[in-house]
């Protein structure tokens, strides 16, 4: 994804005359790279290859496994449950990503240098990013339950009962999105804050003197300058939102029915409740490929709207 320009200026290739001769540090490099390389081979490279292979097998946890070719993928194509999981995931992504970006950018702008102390406000909105998702979800379960805080307030103020959010096919997904936004936007807010801090004040001041309104200054000067950060945030937020699991697992368990069963929740159920490890691996690869395609399209599309200088 975000692959930085790699520094390949290897001095050994071009020894400077007169300078100290650079030699290859092959031995030292082998030693220094050994731990991370062994770890990555064992716990990343090997599982990736193994997962690809597993996808072509019928592989129960107990009992014999056998090669079934594309059977897992075929059954996914035919599966209504998997279709529902994909649709649920897309609904989540479509609701979550734009809201996340707009809210995080809006608050990053709002917490301007005139707000004091800035660090405190930024930290407040960042807190749920670092608290355990299960704890966050537990609070929302309490608040959104019948007779919980929301329902209780509605009864007191308006004399009507709130819908049973977590038990309703209509409201369960919005509840999952709400929890995800609440705990998620703080990260992007800090990304945008860092980008906004880096916008040179001289540019906006010059525009002010030229009589540009604040709105014009923001949309014409500030926004284009921070498009690389927005691009970065959109790419990462999209990737992580396709992988949504814990919020739905804890808040609704994927229900009611399968109203909030996302792709990863479906993967978890297939893999670790029904122990179809082959099928679960196939789901993981479908997810990976969807993420990859969307990310590639974003990198292609970025030329139209991201300004790097």
């Amino acid at each position: 994804m975000a692959i930085p320009p790699v520094d390949v200026t290897d001095v050994a290739i071009a020894p400077r005359p007169g300078g100290p001769r650079k030699r290859s540090d092959r031995r030292a490099a082998a030693g220094f790279l050994a731990p991370s390389m062994l770890g990555l081979l064992a716990f990343t490279a090997f599982p990736i290859v193994a997962s690809l292979i597993l996808g072509f097998f019928d592989w129960p946890v107990l009992g014999d496994h056998r090669f079934t070719g594309l059977q897992n993928y075929k059954s996914l194509v035919d599966s209504d449950e998997f279709k529902t999981a994909i649709i649920n995931t897309i609904v989540f992504v479509v609701l979550y990503v734009p809201l996340n970006i707009v809210i995080s950018l809006g608050l990053a702008v709002w917490i301007s240098p005139r707000i004091r102390p800035r660090g405190l406000y930024r930290t407040i909105f960042f807190i749920p990013v670092v608290t355990p998702v299960v704890a966050n979800a537990a609070i929302f379960t309490l608040i959104l339950s019948p007779n919980g805080l929301v329902d209780s307030l509605m009864q007191t103020w308006f004399g009507v009962q709130a819908p049973n959010f977590l038990g309703s096919k209509t409201w369960a997904m919005p509840a999952v999105v709400l929890l995800s936004i609440w705990q998620g936007f703080g990260y992007n807010m800090l990304v945008f804050s860092a980008a906004l801090d880096a916008v040179p004040a001289s540019l906006t001041e010059a525009a002010t003197i030229d009589g540009a309104s604040a709105t014009a200054r923001f949309f014409r000067i500030v926004l284009p300058l921070i498009t690389p950060s927005i691009f970065f945030a959109v790419v990462l937020t999209l990737i992580s939102s396709f992988q949504v699991f814990t919020q739905a697992y804890v808040l609704t368990g994927g229900g009611p029915g399968d109203a909030t069963t996302t792709m990863v929740l479906y993967l978890y159920e297939q893999g670790f409740r029904f122990f179809n490890l082959g099928l679960a691996s196939a789901i993981a690869w479908v997810l990976f490929i969807i993420i990859l395609i969307i990310t590639i399209f974003q990198f292609i599309g970025q030329r139209r709207w991201v300004h790097y200088d």
Partner: protein, 301 residues
């Protein structure tokens, strides 16, 4: 929002003869707006924190008074005892100790392994350095879900199911740490090491006594995010741990949620305890937050 102020400026400042009153008017107006803006933002922040405040308030209530209409901030008595009860209920204290161990050891291994490989990529000359680095980075695009299934089989094969090793080691060797530290190491001036090299210091010594202190902020950022990552990790522990004795905090909370639909005050007390370490870390390091995010996030463009 600000268009009004600016249009005043635009109209009145142009004739350079009379700028003073316009500027005074503008600055008074902008002070009022700053106060308004801050007040409104504080309200938004309070609303945002409401779930967490409600969690703490609920944790202090007697069992029968968690759900009331109308909602009350405090119950008939303030029960601090709920925290002690939650700690001992299930073995929640045990979960905390487990998680502190897993997160600390995992963070330590991550820091050491990342520092070593980052040093190699930033300072050592060897063939295929660029290619190998790209290979490292390419592992970052693979979602965790692809990895967990074969990892589960691997752990079963080598008998690590229900062990701390299985919680720690698979996630301790990330390309992310290598990348973050390498980016920082590249900004360290080479002159710093030259003297040490002339004195005959080896690479280990240079990494320890020159890079470690200079790159302390980068290490701090990596340490905090790694620790928090271990602390909050859910999917993998859910898959690999079923033994209550080995559970981590998020699993314990989930168990709580499943078993005790009735004891909400204890669950909220447990959630409060579970949130404490990460919140304290973030508050303590808030100075570095934006910088760290800039370092880890924007460095990647």
């Amino acid at each position: 929002m600000t268009s009004e102020t600016s249009s005043i400026t635009a109209v009145d400042v142009r004739p350079p003869a009379a700028p003073a009153p316009a500027i005074r008017l503008r600055s008074r107006w902008s002070k009022v707006r700053a106060v308004l803006s801050q007040t409104l933002l504080s309200l938004v922040a309070l609303l945002f924190l409401a779930p967490i405040i409600w969690m703490v308030l609920s944790a202090l209530k007697p069992s029968a008074e968690v759900f009331t209409v109308p909602p009350k901030p405090f119950g008939s008595e303030i029960k601090f005892g709920n925290f002690a009860e939650a700690w001992n209920y299930l073995p929640f204290g045990r979960f905390i100790v487990n998680t502190i161990f897993v997160a600390s050891v995992g963070t330590a291994i991550t820091l050491v392994a990342s520092a070593m490989s980052a040093y190699a990529f930033a300072r050592l000359n060897f063939r295929f350095r660029g290619g190998l680095f790209v290979l490292y980075l390419s592992t970052l695009i693979v979602p965790q879900e692809v990895i967990v299934i074969p990892m589960f089989l691997l752990m079963k094969e080598i008998g690590w199911v229900n062990s701390n090793k299985a919680l720690i080691l698979p996630w301790a060797f990330t390309a992310f740490g290598t990348f973050l530290l390498r980016q920082f190491f590249l900004t360290v001036p080479k002159e710093l090491e030259e003297a040490a090299k002339l004195d005959g210091c080896g690479h280990v010594r240079i990494l320890r006594s020159i890079f470690l202190p200079v790159a302390a902020p980068a290490f701090a950022v990596l340490a905090v995010f790694t620790f928090i990552g271990y602390w909050n990790s859910f999917l993998w522990p859910l898959i690999i741990v079923s033994d209550t004795d080995k559970m981590t905090v998020p699993l314990g909370l989930q168990l709580f949620l499943g078993q005790q639909g009735q004891r909400w005050e204890l669950l909220m007390a447990a959630a409060t305890i579970a949130m404490m370490p990460t919140v304290v870390l973030v508050l303590a390091l808030q100075k570095y937050l934006v910088r760290g995010i800039a370092l880890s996030g924007l460095g990647g463009r």
